[in-house]
């Protein structure tokens, strides 16, 4: 029955994550971006909030049931704190959620319990390829069955934390379909390349990964013979990324709003000029509209409905408006928006980066 209010547990989660975002993420994110490293204690504290275990069933050590809506609520708050730190803290989801959604019973029993541990598992996923026309459903990387194992070949980019990862979920093209393979670190032919240098999101180290005849057992193919439901994985991922975009937009909007109220020009706060006030009003509506589109798609997924159309159009629409809102936030600050002492220019860079993440951040 129609309702747009968080329930008590969701509100508690949102409050918890928001407090963390405000007290920890917002304190470190600028330095982390400049140094290319997020302080360990922040990562640890973020992991200890335990978002992932709350979405995993008890039999694997979790204490709940996955809800895309609840996840989106938490994701927005994390991302409001900082997008790069969010990806760092929730990195394990890149493996946990595809295993949870598409894994065989054996794979779930084998891999999921580590995500409920106190220590953050060192895992990542490799999906994106360096192609202008990147299409997650038509990958250039290949997987070929050879006896009772697979041979993986190709090149990946934007693989977070690949250098320290003990396990990489590699997406590859098997007979025209996107499938996923659990590749242990140190596998022969697996080459972790250079650290990526990006316009933003530099606090999160990402790497190129090359696969030269990497051989993995057929048992490491996610979902066994049946493989994965890649569309479902992508839909969940897009919802998470959409929620992250909402968090980013909201961060920009709120900062611009507060700034405009205290910045005095020509004898009054600039927020009292309609040109600024109207822009802020449009931004506020954009944030709310974006959130509702994310929530609706998430709710449909939770109901077991196919939300491919909803998630796709939501993601594409948010790609546009999140960059627009970040830009308007910067514009509101005028010259200070362009200065790295202020956070807003980084949010514009991150918003732009977020549009290039598609499917990778299965949070």
């Amino acid at each position: 029955m129609l309702d747009f209010r968080l329930d008590e547990e969701q509100q508690m989660l949102a409050d918890t994550v928001h407090r963390f975002a405000e007290e920890k993420m917002r304190k470190e994110f600028r330095e982390a971006e400049e140094l290319g490293k997020i302080p360990d204690d922040v990562v640890k504290a973020g992991w200890e909030i335990g978002l992932l275990p709350t979405g995993l069933p008890e039999e694997y050590g979790g204490f709940g049931e996955y809800s895309a809506v609840t996840n989106a609520i938490a994701m927005e708050e994390f991302s409001w704190g900082d997008f790069a730190t969010t990806l760092r803290i929730l990195g394990p989801n890149l493996v946990a959620m595809p295993v949870y959604l598409s894994g065989t019973d054996e794979q779930k029993a084998h891999y999921l319990p580590m995500f409920c541990d106190e220590a953050m598992p060192k895992v990542t996923a490799a999906l994106t390829e360096k192609a202008i026309q990147f299409d997650p459903r038509n990958l250039k990387s290949t997987a070929v069955l050879d006896g009772d194992s697979y041979l993986l070949n190709g090149a990946k980019t934007l693989v977070p934390l690949a250098k320290d990862a003990e396990l990489i979920l590699v997406y590859a093209n098997e007979n025209g379909e996107t499938q996923a393979f659990l590749v242990p670190a140190g596998s022969e032919g697996l080459e972790i390349g250079a650290k990526g240098k990006w316009m933003g999101i530099n606090a999160l180290p990402t790497y190129e990964v090359k696969l030269n005849d990497v051989r993995v057992s057929a048992a490491n193919k996610l979902g066994g013979d049946a493989g994965i439901d890649f569309t479902q994985i992508l839909n969940h991922s897009r919802i998470a990324l959409g929620a992250a975009a909402v968090g980013l937009m909201r961060a920009g909007f709120e900062y611009a709003r507060d700034y405009a109220k205290q910045r005095v020009q020509f004898g009054q706060p600039v927020a009292q000029y309609q040109s600024i006030a109207f822009m802020l009003a449009e931004m506020a509506i954009d944030v709310d509209e974006a959130r509702l589109l994310v929530w609706e798609a998430a709710w449909m997924m939770d109901q077991g409905q196919d939300a491919t159309a909803e998630t796709t159009r939501m993601k594409f629409y948010l790609d546009d408006i999140s960059v627009k809102v970040a830009d308007q936030a910067l514009q509101t600050l005028g010259g200070y928006g362009y200065i790295r002492e202020y956070p807003v220019e980084l949010w514009l860079r991150n918003a732009r980066g977020l549009t290039h993440f598609d499917g990778i951040a299965m949070i």
Binding site: L2, A284, T308, D320
Partner: protein, 413 residues
């Protein structure tokens, strides 16, 4: 608990509106666009018996003393209405406005009228021939700034009557309520021009009252089936107790604010009408393009979509976004929460979105979109009114801006 499902019972009830929209409104849509100012009798005659019956049942409840028990859950009446408006506007937004009911005038009576006034003015909608109610606020020189209105009401203490003089414009259903039925029009006027907002009161003027005349029927860009008139009031005498709310000039503008409260429901209602038109244009565009083999493949990455497919997808997203904002403002009302900010948000966004969506539709459909043989161009014309009435987009943005910034009217003009 977040939930996007419209209650099943309300969905089922909406099917009737859906039938009316498809079978009665669409076939006559073009006819009453071209025949501006004609009453769409096929629609009004079909709706009246049903609406009359509803009113009859409502009055039966009131009179049997069956007081509404305090509800535990949400009151979905408003959602039912919003859904109906969306569907009927999908059928035809101009014709929908001719729905024979008490309209905005009725909303004002219900909001601030005494039980006796409610009976006197509202009970007529449960019996006899079709009737309409209207509301007259706007004046030639007082649009969004309606507190500067000049229409006056002066108490004639000898006869205990109010004497109203002035001019009102853009009155929806003004002719239907005052000349073509035994309806009424709620007229806003000041009883103390020096008191500003505090002096502004609303008065119920019955159809056929001497001194009321229709100065002109407006010729409009769209919603041509809808009756829009300018009214002239010359020494119009109405009984003392036709004033709604207190006749005293209070120090505060509380009365004015009370009347403004009707916007909390009427803005989502306009947003819903906008969304209905947007859906009509979107569906027609999708269907027509599908005949040409253009169907969005949602599994394609963005860069592999054609420009037309991208436009279509954005139309879908913006239509949906506006509808969700509208539903949110509606559900707040149902839950008894304040929705001032959200009502203006949905109104501003939906008015803008439907304007853009319908223009895109005409553009994407090429000559077919521009042709009067289809309805696309009509929807584009109809759409624009939603960006204007019940507060222009700019006024609603101003309200949103004040709310998010915590500014008063004085601080943000």
């Amino acid at each position: 608990m977040i939930n996007f499902e419209i209650p099943k019972k309300i969905q089922a009830e909406a099917q009737m509106a859906d039938m009316v929209a498809k079978q009665i409104m669409r076939p006559i849509s073009r006819k009453y666009d071209e025949g501006e100012h004609e009453r769409p009798v096929e629609f009004t005659n079909a709706m009246w018996p049903f609406l009359k019956q509803q009113e009859k049942a409502r009055w039966a409840k009131i009179e049997s003393g069956e007081v509404k028990p305090e509800r535990d859950g949400p009151n979905w009446t408003i959602l039912r209405l919003i859904l109906m408006i969306e569907i009927l506007s999908w059928g035809d937004a101009g014709i929908y406005l001719c729905t024979p009911n008490a309209g905005l005038g009725g909303a004002a009576v219900e909001a601030v009228g005494t039980p006796e006034q409610k009976e006197r003015y509202m009970k007529r909608f449960s019996t006899g021939e079709p009737k309409w109610g209207a509301m007259a606020i706007t004046e030639p020189n007082a649009g969004s700034d309606n507190s500067s209105m000049r229409t006056t009401a002066v108490l004639d203490e000898e006869t205990n009557e109010w004497v109203i003089n002035g001019e009102k414009v853009f009155i929806t259903n003004g002719k239907l309520s005052l000349e073509e039925s035994d309806g009424f029009c709620v007229v806003w006027a000041t009883i103390d021009p020096d008191a500003g907002r505090a002096g502004i009161k609303s008065f119920v003027v019955e159809g056929g009252t001497p001194g009321v005349s229709i100065a002109k029927q407006e010729h409009k860009l769209g919603i041509r089936a809808s009756d829009t008139v300018a009214l002239h009031f010359k020494d119009v005498r109405v009984p003392f107790d036709s004033v709604l709310g207190s006749p005293d000039v209070q120090k505060t503008s509380k009365g004015f604010k009370g009347a403004m409260k009707t916007f909390d429901a009427s803005r989502p209602a306009v947003a819903a009408s906008a969304v209905g038109i947007a859906r009509a244009a979107l569906e027609f565009t999708q269907e027509t393009l599908a005949e040409e083999g253009i169907v969005i493949d949602y599994t394609k990455p963005k860069h592999q979509l054609t420009a037309v497919e991208r436009d279509l997808m954005e139309m879908e997203a913006r239509y949906r976004g506006s509808w969700l904002l509208t539903l949110r403002a509606t559900s707040q009302l149902a839950f008894g929460e304040s929705n001032r900010l959200e009502a203006s948000m949905c109104k501003a966004r939906a008015g803008e979105a439907v304007t853009w969506i319908t223009q895109k539709s005409v553009e994407l459909l090429g000559p077919l979109g521009y042709s009067r043989e289809t309805l696309a161009e009509k929807w584009m014309r109809d759409a624009k009114i939603n960006d204007i009435y019940e507060g222009t987009k700019q006024i609603n943005l101003l309200i949103v801006a004040r709310s998010i910034l915590g500014y008063s009217r004085r601080e943000l003009k």
